[in-house]
Amino acid sequence: MEPLLEARNISKVYPNGMAANRSVNFSLQKGEIHALAGENGAGKSTLMKILFGMEKPSEGELRLNGAPFSPSSPQDAISKGLGMVHQHFMLVPSFTIAQNVILGAAPRKGLSVDWKKAAQETADLSAKYNFSLDPNKRVEDLSVGMKQKVEIIKALYRGAKILILDEPTAVLTPQETAELFSQLFKLRESGITIVFISHKLKEVKAICNRITILRGGRNMGVFQVSDVSEQEISRLMVGRDVALKYDKDNIPPGDAILEINRLFLKNEDGKTKVSNVSLSVPGGRILGIAGVDGNGQNELARAVMGEIPIASGEIRICGKPATGKLQGVRQLETGYIPEDRMKQGTAGDASISDNLISIRLKSPEVCSKGILRKKKISALSESLVGLYRILCSSADQKVSMLSGGNMQKVVVARECSTSPKLLVADQPTRGVDVGSAELIHHKLLELRKNGTAILLVSADLNEVMELSDHLAIMFNGQISAYFEDPSQVSEEELGLYMLGLKKQEGIS
């Protein structure tokens, strides 16, 4: 059968000399769900940008329905029947669902937009695929899962026959993911072809027909999903075997290092972000905090590190009250992997080496009598770069030149190498490739073995489930569930707590 969309020998070399795609072949059959898998930087996004008219290939050709196809802009690609659901939603918050759907392609009635028709067509599309969206609801009031549906409807409204979904489940709870999958099946039944970009192999196995694997800009093969195992896929993606399960050393818990007591936090506008949270983490244990983004997890982590003031309650680290200043908390032998590695975790214009020593300037190893000890610093940096496998030309390279995974490894190297008593890790592997994530996980487990108490905030359920000794789930600023042993709980049950559909009795 002739493919619906075909990319032949696509190469893309950026002006800075980086080759993002090297002779990649990619083909889509009508009516399939096709997975595109690969680590960050493997060239998935570049390939999709080329299909969607956002980038021009340096070499190679595209064919749509057998005819040459060279989209000049997203608008052009949209008019040829392609639709893209971006990872970061492209929605206008104060607009209603219908307004977002028709933006740029509004039905008219005289000078005005035909609002009735707009709402009707949105409702019709929503009903057709069981999306149950109210066209007159404002997008800012929607959950993440609903927003994603609006994005899909937006593409369908513009007549998309091929739908590209960029890591659609990264932001969803297990329930929302399950719902999305049933809707994707429905879309496939009605003849829509779907490209599913993901590195969650379980999901790829669950819903996709075929998979194309990219690594280092090259196509590592196209397979029927049923013919390859998760282990084989991840080996092709990463180039070596990846542990999907970790062994945790069985060591007894130490003294309570972090104690949080009836904590309340408010933001600048006086809105309560965290209410009545009490938690405790002993040495040698990892406490995972799971939850849908924006339910107070980030504020909790920042409050522990003294970044935001406490409204009431108390936080103690090694028995001492945490003072509400980052510098003060840092002196209590704590390490911090902040949520945003670009803005907070690193200084982009400074070198890797400068970033690595930035929290050790008081140590005589690094600085004596106010003078930096260059030789010691460079020896220390070189060893950390090696130990944490930071890919760079030298430790003097600017951090902003590194890929996301390597940038994060700089942060992790800096924070973990001081053997802190408490480590606060806020989304330590978000947007990081599988190989780097594995290394970061190993480093966290190493700290745990050495008696560090770790507070791990993550939206990645697999991550918290795998690493945590204990697990708390936050919803709307409160702890909605706490599990002494998370391995006994199913992901589906966790999802109920994350969505606030269930709450444990007797918790705050």
Binding site: H86, M90, S94, L103, S112, W115, N267, D269, K271, T272
Partner: protein
């Protein structure tokens, strides 16, 4: 000596409120349009001033008030497109660009005036034209109301029409939807093929066009000729009105009326034996008070929202 109450009961006072509100409303609506498209355009003062001069010169040259008005409009659009070019193509800071336009218009208008008339103060030596006043049939017969509403300059009625036209445009037309989308999340607009740059160019041009009407009003209606710095802060007051209106067309117009009221008060109080300088600061004090009230309200509203936020 007339009392304050007499003054407030006199229809001619309320007539003058509408008279002085006209340029403020034009400038405030002009600022609002670019604000909606995500651009903080502070060049109202300069745009009005330059258009005021252009209107005077063109009407003097052509001996037609209406062609003079077209000249003012062209000047306003040109100035705004200059700002657009700097902001959207050369990526300069839009506030700095706005400051530059204001400074340029301030000095440039005097320079051009001097070149043409040899006078650095006013354009009285140019035989410029004035836009006509309009008496509305029937309404002018209504007691009190007729005296307040009828008999204004054509531009005052155009201002009222502009308010409703812009309200409709932003709320109900595809263009309005695009402008608001670009202002709120330009990448969302881009993703569906709406060019943010094009929309911002367009809204800046529209903004210049509307502000230019305010300028033309100053030199071809409010006064019969141009004089240096004749906008005297109205472009800034309009920005305050726009801020208080919080992006709403009707609220912005209402805020403009409040400032117009203060302005008219200042004019009327000059009849009383108060120091002219003291009276002259009333509109500006009103602006400051207005902005304080506005920010206090915003802050309280935010607090209230935060406190009453119930768990889902």
């Amino acid at each position: 000596m007339p009392s304050l109450v007499d003054m407030l009961l006199n229809p001619s006072f309320w007539f003058s409120v509408l008279r002085v509100t006209t340029p403020i409303i034009f400038a405030a609506i002009a600022a609002l349009i670019t604000d909606k498209a995500g651009i903080m355009n502070i060049s109202m003062e300069g745009t009005m001033l330059f258009s005021a001069l252009a209107g005077t010169i063109v009407s003097a040259l052509t001996q037609s008030a209406w062609i003079g008005l077209l000249g003012a409009m062209a000047a306003g659009v040109l100035l705004s497109l200059t700002l657009a070019y700097f902001t959207l193509e050369l990526k300069t800071d839009v506030i700095l660009g706005g400051v530059a336009i204001n400074l340029f218009a301030d000095g440039g208008s005097i320079f051009i005036l001097y070149l043409l008339t040899g006078d650095k103060g006013t354009s009285v030596s140019l035989a410029s034209k004035v836009l006509p006043s309009v008496t509305i049939p029937l309404i002018d017969k209504i007691p009190v109301l007729g005296a307040i509403i009828s008999g204004h300059n054509a531009l005052t009625y155009i201002a009222a029409a502009t308010v409703f036209a812009v309200y409709f445009m932003l709320k109900s037309t595809p263009l309005g939807l695009k402008i608001r989308a670009v202002g709120e999340n330009s990448s969302a607009a881009q993703s569906v093929g709406v060019s943010a740059k094009k929309i911002q160019y367009l809204s800046l041009a529209l903004s210049g066009l509307i502000a230019s009407l305010g300028g033309a009003y100053m030199s071809m209606a409010y006064l019969p000729n141009f004089s240096r710095n004749m906008t005297s802060g109205r472009g800034w007051i309009a920005l305050a009105a726009e801020a208080m209106g919080q992006g709403g067309v009707l609220a912005t117009s209402a805020a403009s009326l409040v400032f117009g009221f203060a302005d008219a008060m200042a004019n009327a109080l000059q009849m009383f034996s108060l120091p002219a300088e003291l009276v002259g600061i009333i509109p500006y004090v009103a602006t400051v008070i207005g902005l304080i009230l506005y920010s206090v309200r915003i802050k309280n509203a935010k607090k209230r929202r935060g406190a009453s936020k119930k768990p889902l």
